[in-house]
């Protein structure tokens, strides 16, 4: 019972942490634009995560970071109590916040119960987490994959360290919170006629998407969540042609987190880079592109400074690359990747349903997708990346591919959610 109570309190505190507190938006609101509560919440979450990232990169004592977050939490709670009776206090969205809290709590119970770690987690992610838990820095990383980015494991270790019970799974509960919040944040970009439909779609997506194995410590669920943030901000920047700084900053904060989660994220960042290059115009484009290059540079310098081998997947790309390629049965491999690519789509219910919907929407209105073409470009680049990596992989082929396609598809499975929901919104059906 104590554990359940602690889980409850932990999820509650984490939820309170992201309540729409405008204190972080200093100088952002010059034009008096009214931001939605969820946009403020998302920025709060991203800023907190970036502060955690910063402390992980420059090796600040975790306790100081914890004090800062506690300070932030206190401000939020005081503001909540102070404004409790005021009308403008996220009254319309209180059910949404409660729903996120409730679903996170449900997932937390499952996480607390199923403590099994899968292969990758035991082999390196948990090793990294233990390292951070014991207050070591990346320099003392002698796990078998020191080149793997560390931010996800740092998060895990941080919330493992700072909870009431000192159990490792509290770190993973925080993953669950980011997961639920990011899904809701993306759905919230659509204006529904009725809130009921929003709640329904939210629960239905969790129902289709949730598997306990995504929460055993592997980092793909974080990639999935940050990709959702990125899709939501790209929707604002490209589809709605937003000029609000909150979206630019939110997107950059997301990209920064994304590149410190897993090596695959470089593929996503590349696709976002290309999309920004083609779809966004003017000053905003330059700001975004140079910021992404700067963030990549920061990562490169970090790896250089601490002498971490930053070879992108040294297991995938061999050193004698061209001789290796010459000896490969490329045609046979591409055919197999092609086959398993479709099996991967079929195995991922969300992606499968999305593609079926896309097909029917295409039949109904052939010009509908023009406005959403940037998402198709992202999908295309990701697919090309998948084909490239799996065709030349030095890992055990095709086992490596078969085993990892599930989680790779998870990472971007909700890419088409917005165009589909937008279509129904446009048809006045939802």
């Amino acid at each position: 019972m104590i554990e359940i109570f602690n889980i409850f309190i932990f999820v509650l505190l984490v939820s309170l942490l992201i309540l729409p507190n405008k204190s972080l938006l200093v100088n952002l609101n010059k034009k008096n634009i009214k931001y939605s509560n969820f946009e403020i919440s998302s920025l709060n979450l991203l800023v907190i995560l970036n502060i955690l990232w910063f402390s992980s990169v420059i090796d600040i004592n975790k306790f100081y970071t914890f004090l800062f977050i506690l300070f932030f939490l206190t401000i939020n709670v005081i503001k909540l109590l102070y404004n409790f009776n005021k009308k403008d206090l996220f009254k319309d969205e209180i059910i949404s916040y409660l729903l996120i809290f409730f679903i996170t709590f449900l997932i937390s119970i499952i996480i607390a119960h199923d403590l099994f770690f899968s292969h990758d987690v035991r082999l390196f992610w948990f090793e990294k987490t233990i390292m951070f838990y014991n207050d070591f820095f990346v320099t003392s990383d002698d796990t078998i994959k020191p080149e793997y980015p560390h931010f996800g494991t740092y998060l895990w270790a941080f919330f493992w360290k700072f909870n009431f019970l000192d159990y490792e799974y509290f770190g993973r509960i925080f993953y669950a919170f980011i997961y639920t919040f990011s899904i809701y944040f993306l759905i919230n970009k659509i204006k529904f006629k009725k809130d009921f439909i929003k709640y329904f779609i939210f629960i239905f997506i969790i129902f289709l998407n949730f598997k306990i194995k995504w929460f055993d410590g592997r980092q793909d669920i974080l990639l999935f969540s940050f990709n959702l943030f990125a899709f939501a901000f790209l929707h604002e920047l490209i589809f709605n042609k937003s000029v609000q700084k909150i979206h630019v900053i939110g997107f950059l904060l997301t990209v920064n987190l994304l590149m410190w989660i897993k090596i695959e994220s470089i593929l996503y960042i590349f696709s976002y880079f290309v999309v920004i290059l083609y779809y966004i115009k003017g000053h905003k484009k330059l700001v975004l592109l140079f910021s992404i290059i700067f963030l990549l540079l920061v990562k490169y310098l970090f790896y250089e400074y601490y002498n971490i081998v930053a070879h992108i997947h040294r297991d995938v790309f061999p050193s004698n690359f061209f001789t290796y390629i010459k000896n490969l049965d490329l045609l046979g491999r591409v055919t197999q990747v092609f086959l398993w690519y479709f099996v991967g789509i079929i195995r991922n219910p969300i992606l499968l349903i999305s593609i079926i919907f896309l097909f029917f929407i295409f039949l109904e209105n052939k010009k509908y997708y023009i406005k959403h073409s940037y998402l198709f470009l992202i999908y295309f680049i990701i697919s090309i990346g998948i084909f490239f990596v799996y065709t030349i992989t030095t890992y055990d082929f095709p086992f490596h591919m078969i085993g990892s396609f599930g989680r790779v598809f998870l990472q971007f499975s909700l890419i088409f959610l917005i165009p589909i929901l937008k279509f129904f919104e446009y048809k006045k059906m939802i």
Partner: protein, 501 residues
């Protein structure tokens, strides 16, 4: 052939001029225009009277009902009575024709035996025009029971058919079922001749006054009209002794009508649906059981459930060791051999200064264990069921030319290492697929060895799933660590805690 065009009007003063001009200027000469005004309150009549060749009929206010659809049918009937044309065209006064429409339609009536001809409308919204999509091709019959039909201005009939149709469908019930729908049902079921031309000859004006503007798709009104469509169709066909299949569309429509206009009822249903979905989510994820387990069991007990005490997923034994030997946080897994059917797994103390303490798990049986050390952190397993020593032998499978099967003779005292290296001789053979197959075969070999079989046959396939011809198999020798090199500190079932001697 003479054409009679019946224009039914109610308060369309603005558009009458364009409508009647489009009729007068038709490229076909033998035309009669009948203008029926349904007690308009605007200047419609005055505008119509300016056109000399137009016969004008007025509805009497006492005959007027409060339903537009009935008044329209009444207007059509009255106009028909005075008409003389062989072909009857119906037109709403806010719509208009293409100047060649009558000529084209009459030509089709002349050339074919069609009874009703329906063309497609170009939709006019303010000054913009776009073509209406002919949805007849893309209809999904299970969920959309009704065939597609365009607006009534696109309809034209042979005289006798029109008379029959008027008599047939003119009953003052179902006010939201307009004449065009009634005509389409008549065409589809009674005369079984209802096809839509793929030619855009009519202009249909979309304004806020249109009847269809009140029926946004999936709105309450839309569902209510749809239910009337169903009821009309059922009653009409029942009178004609025509059977139609029960359809899902009707039940969905009925359900939606049941829910309409009652916010409380709707909210209740929505709430119940959400609750149901949540319950499904909760029970598929077995949350109640897990909830009570979290309350009932300690963290370590749950670890044991998750991993078993002593198996390939075990941490139960680790926790046991942790508690008994007071190694609180330092023992954690260090390495796990990810083979498909592992016999045992290594765990090592996390503390890097002291890496001599191992936990070994062997969950298969009580046989001896061999350790193969590849480098500092990596080990491979080797498992010899019977002997605690092993004989190494290099095996080369020769190409047996005409045979698809390769026979390897393996002595009982030989254990096959996992490190089978396949040398590719022919570029057509996929190394990996052969490798996979051999890995699977390794287990078979092991099993056969346990059964004391002397000869084991394996088949190697190439990447086209055909049996390959050129394949060489080598077995690599690795240095072996024997369990006897270690002191066993703790042993429960098949789990060992050991330290090097």
């Amino acid at each position: 052939m003479k054409a009679s065009i019946i224009v039914v009007n109610y308060n369309s003063e603005k558009y009458i001029e364009q409508c009647l001009n489009s009729l007068i200027n038709q490229s076909y000469d033998n035309i009669e225009i009948i203008f029926f005004d349904d007690c308009s309150t605007d200047r419609s009549l005055e505008v119509a009277k300016q056109f000399k060749h137009v016969k004008i009929l007025k509805n009497l206010s006492e005959k007027r009902t409060k339903y537009g659809s009935f008044n329209q049918m009444f207007g059509l009937r009255e106009s028909y009575k005075i008409s003389k044309g062989d072909i009857i065209f119906t037109l709403d006064s806010d719509d208009f024709y293409n100047l060649d429409k009558v000529k084209s339609i009459i030509q089709i009536f002349k050339d074919t035996s069609k009874k009703i001809i329906v063309d497609m409308p170009t939709i006019v919204v303010n000054d913009k025009k776009y073509l209406m999509q002919n949805r007849n091709l893309s209809k999904i019959s299970t969920f959309n029971h009704f065939n597609f039909f365009p607006q009534q201005s696109c309809f034209s009939y042979r005289r006798d058919v029109f008379a029959d149709l008027l008599e047939d469908v003119f009953f003052l019930k179902y006010p939201n079922v307009w004449f065009d729908f009634r005509a389409s049902i008549y065409g589809n079921y009674i005369i079984k001749d209802f096809s839509i031309l793929d030619e855009y000859l009519t202009y249909y004006r979309k304004t806020q006054k249109n009847v269809s503007s009140n029926f946004d798709k999936f709105s309450d009104k839309w569902w209510s009209r749809r239910l009337e469509y169903h009821r009309y169709e059922q009653e009409y066909l029942k009178n004609k002794n025509i059977k139609i299949n029960t359809n899902i569309d009707f039940y969905i429509t009925k359900l939606m009508n049941y829910l309409k206009n009652d916010k409380k009822k709707k909210n209740k249903i929505e709430f119940i649906i959400l609750l149901l979905l949540l319950f499904v989510l909760i029970f598929t994820l077995e949350i109640p059981r897990k909830f009570f387990n979290v309350i009932r069991l300690t963290y370590d007990e749950r670890l044991n459930i998750s991993y078993d005490f002593c198996s390939n997923r075990s941490v139960g034994f680790i926790n046991y060791v942790k508690n008994k030997h007071d190694i609180k946080t330092s023992v954690n897994f260090i390495n796990y051999i990810g083979v498909r059917n592992p016999n045992w797994i290594f765990f090592k103390r996390h503390n890097k200064q002291d890496d001599e303490l191992y936990i070994l798990l062997n969950y298969n049986n009580d046989n001896e264990i061999f350790l193969e050390r590849i480098d500092k952190n990596t080990f491979r397993y080797n498992f010899d069921p019977k002997y605690n020593h092993r004989i190494f032998k290099k095996i080369i499978i020769e190409n047996s030319k005409n045979s698809d099967t390769y026979e390897i003779s393996i002595q009982n005292n030989l254990s096959i290492s996992k490190n089978i290296v396949i040398t590719k001789l022919n570029s057509k053979i996929s190394q990996s697929s052969a490798e996979i197959y051999l890995k699977e075969s390794t287990n078979k070999i092991m099993q056969s060895m346990q059964k004391q079989e002397k000869n084991i046959t394996i088949k190697v396939k190439n990447n086209k799933n055909k049996l390959s011809n050129n394949l060489k198999i080598k077995i690599k020798l690795e240095h072996i660590y024997n369990i006897r090199d270690y002191d066993i500190i703790e042993k429960i079932n098949n789990c060992y805690l050991v330290v090097r001697k």
